[in-house]
Symmetry: C2
Subunit: 186 residues, 2 copies
């Protein structure tokens, strides 16, 4: 699969309505009324946009073979009709993180912070897609997009709360949490 | 260090004069008279360009701590006055490569193909910088730029010849080899 460029455009239109925007670490993003997720190089943002964040769905960086197999068995795709709640969580990690070797990053990510092991029990209720922005010169290194049904909202809070307590998160220097509800295109 | 976007623009102007362009695997690139290397987002290509390839100098993907230390002791920077020979080697790897896990790619790259171990003895004579293009939607996944003095031309041929015989190279589906001589800006 070739990498897919995805643009998250916050503005006056889109199928997702914003219900809250929280600055978790560092500077927030302007509150936006609605959000649209656009795929592909040629995707055109709506005319009136408060902000647009870009990232690429690309090759895997950390999972090993066993973890990939476990994820593939459990994970759900995006766009399930019942998954009317979404979160867009843009994260920027520190230069200290990016200066680590691959093996040191993997060690912190999984062996010490259990990022994958922690996330697995929340699948398939919570669907997730990761977008890489650092090499594009974007303000955020990662844009993670989550979709879940309202009855899993509490589980989702538990998941993000657990990840934010990890050693991995000590390398996060900016994080915004945008929550959305799908109520049809506007 | 934040990632640096680099554009290699082949056209009528630039300090590097092309002396040969070889298609190693797959489709070649149009022969171009000269080449200029531009750094940064705002860098403007010259007016007349035959082609422009882009890549990002980004975080390391494969080296471990010991390898990084060995590289840092030995490697030379770009722009040495005596290094008047250069090679731009754009490479695209197969989807089979990108579908491998990180650990499987590392295993092939170094434990089985000895990419770093093979390259180390050629430092500091041959300076090298790697640029990542895949996530930018570029036609090549990697652009590697080499600079060396004329007396190391034979060593350079030996290095690229050795790498092309490795298991790693069985995943290369397109490779072009552009050789250049620095003769001042034109």
């Amino acid at each position: 699969m070739r990498p897919i460029l995805v643009t998250f455009a916050g503005g006056a239109s889109g199928p997702w309505r914003t219900w809250r925007v929280d600055a978790v670490i560092g500077e927030t993003l302007p509150v936006t009324e609605r959000l649209v997720v656009l795929e592909g190089e040629g995707a055109r943002s709506p005319a009136k946009v408060d902000w647009a964040l870009r990232g690429v769905v690309s090759n895997e960086r950390y999972v090993n073979g066993a973890e990939r197999a476990a994820l593939e068995v459990r994970q759900a795709g995006l766009g399930r009709p019942e998954a009317t709640c979404a979160a867009l969580i843009p994260v920027k990690k520190s230069e200290a993180w990016w200066g680590l070797t691959q093996e040191a990053r993997r060690e912190i990510f999984e062996e010490r912070s259990h990022h994958i092991a922690t996330s697995l029990p929340y699948l398939p209720a919570i669907a997730r897609r990761l977008h890489h922005g650092r090499d594009l010169g974007e303000p955020f290194d990662f844009l993670t997009w989550f979709e879940y049904a309202p009855e899993h909202a509490e589980a989702f809070e538990e998941l993000v709360g657990t990840l934010r307590e990890t050693e991995e998160w000590t390398y996060v220097e900016r994080e915004v949490d945008v929550r959305l509800i799908r109520d049809g295109y506007h």
